[in-house]
Amino acid sequence: MANRALYLKFLSAVLLFGAWEVAGRIPVSFAFPTFLESMGALFRMIGDGTMATAYAETLRPLVVGVAISAFLGIAIGLWVGLSSFFEWLFSPIFIVMQAAPLAALIPLLVLAYGIGLTSKVLVVCIMAMPVIVLNTAGAVRNTPESMKEMGKAFLATDLAIILKIVIPAASPVIFAGLRLGISAGFIGAILAELKITPTGVGDIITYSRSIADYPSMYAAIFSIILLAVLFLNLLEKIETVLFKGNQRGYVSD
């Protein structure tokens, strides 16, 4: 079963990259390099250290922003899910945040917080946090009543009910929110580098586009997607280890 999943993943990668290669060779557009050209550029940039320097820059707002969003997001989500007062107080903020056209708001953030790390972290948080908060709150609200009742009947304290019942029960949806939020955080990190100051991976994208070095540009985009996919897979592994019985076959690969 595991072999088959691996085989299918490999097959879908071959199909995707094959289509990319073909589209690049036709070519679909003058600005669209082939897969092999892009990979060449990727390995060249890994080789000469460009990638390492770029990621050192990009990962900082990304990691800080994602960490803040995850911890604060889950905490606020729990709060909002457990108390209707906090739901009334907080949930409109996050619904607005999720719906807001972020690119248009970036100038305001820059005005208030400058062009440094703070603004970029904020962009990541605005992208990542709402879905984490809203998912967590929804999952917490939907904890099966009979499980909470069971906790009470077996003398669990309110805190124990939250830690031992509500959070584990909500964990599949919390993790789904984390996955969505973190992917959005990756988008936010690149968006910040494109819209605020060109640094890191955003700089490679902007600069190689300006000198028409499209393979490098696509290599940079490819690398960030690859990183996001790897990270999401890691997250899924963590979830599987933490809440084994919650996985009813659907996190098999």
Partner: protein
């Protein structure tokens, strides 16, 4: 739980382990229970039987301390109930197992909440898992078990906290007919062997007559106790003979005659 012959049960002079006094429960304008008083003799199994919506589960949850009565009070061993307590354990209709926890963790949950150490509580849990016939499944997860096995986990969890009163809310209604019959036989042995008081909610007339020392027949809107029935003779004749005993059949018919007008 091995099957065993059922010995005669001494019913006279049994003192009450649980008594409910003038319990009323309103949900807004709806009167679920009105002025309901019942005695539950120690060491015996009392069924709460009635048509759906008659408030039998509500009464059970009030005894458990999970719901507050609008008026009236519940006493367990002479102490007034103000909330859930270590003297009562609950078996849920939908099992209420934690799907992310193994069987042994589920069974040990009540002991964990009482602050018992991990190795000690898992020893006790393992013992009760064997007792309900699930030896070897300690590290399985609930979704790997059949409905009947899940309810055995729920039962082991309730037994492991060693409460004097076992509250069972339609525990067998979600399992198939054959498993249910086995459960009923096992329950008779359990009442016999464990010195506990059982309060058992069911909507099955046959089940109530089969397992009970005392049946409280509740009638709805608002609920009150219509009749208390104490089967006397067939308990001593062994599990295999109960279902064809004339007294058993008469009681089943009699209860149905009382209930039929209340069933739509």
């Amino acid at each position: 739980m091995a099957m065993s012959q059922i010995d005669p049960v001494v019913i006279d002079n049994a003192e009450s382990a649980v008594s409910t006094r003038n319990i009323s429960k309103n949900y807004g304008d709806v009167e679920a229970l009105r002025d309901l008083s019942l005695e539950f003799p120690r060491g015996q199994l009392t069924s709460l039987l009635g048509p759906s919506g008659c408030g039998k589960t509500t009464l059970l949850k009030i005894i458990a301390g999970l719901l507050e009565p609008t008026s009236g009070e519940v006493e367990v061993n002479g102490k007034t109930v103000t909330g859930p307590g270590p003297d009562r354990a609950f078996v849920f209709q939908d099992f209420a197992l934690l799907p992310w926890a193994s069987v042994i963790r589920n069974v040990a949950f009540g002991l964990e909440m009482r602050g018992m150490g991990k190795s000690e509580r898992e020893d006790i849990a393992a013992k009760y898992i064997k007792e309900v016939g699930l030896g070897g499944f300690e590290h399985s997860y609930p979704h790997e078990l059949s409905g009947g096995m899940r309810q055995r986990v729920g039962l082991a969890r309730a037994l492991s906290v060693d409460a004097e009163v076992l509250l069972m809310d339609e525990p067998f209604s979600a399992v198939d007919e054959q498993t249910r019959r086995k459960f009923q036989e096992d329950l008779l042995a359990l009442v016999q062997n464990e010195n506990k008081t059982f309060i058992f909610v069911t909507h099955s007339i046959e089940e109530a007559v089969y397992v009970s020392d005392q049946i409280a027949l509740l009638l709805p809107r608002p609920s009150r106790v219509h009749e208390i029935i104490r089967p006397s003779n067939f308990r001593s004749k062994g599990v295999d003979n109960i279902r064809r005993d004339p007294e058993y059949l008469d009681i089943v018919d009699e209860i149905w005659a009382s209930l039929r007008t209340y069933v739509e």
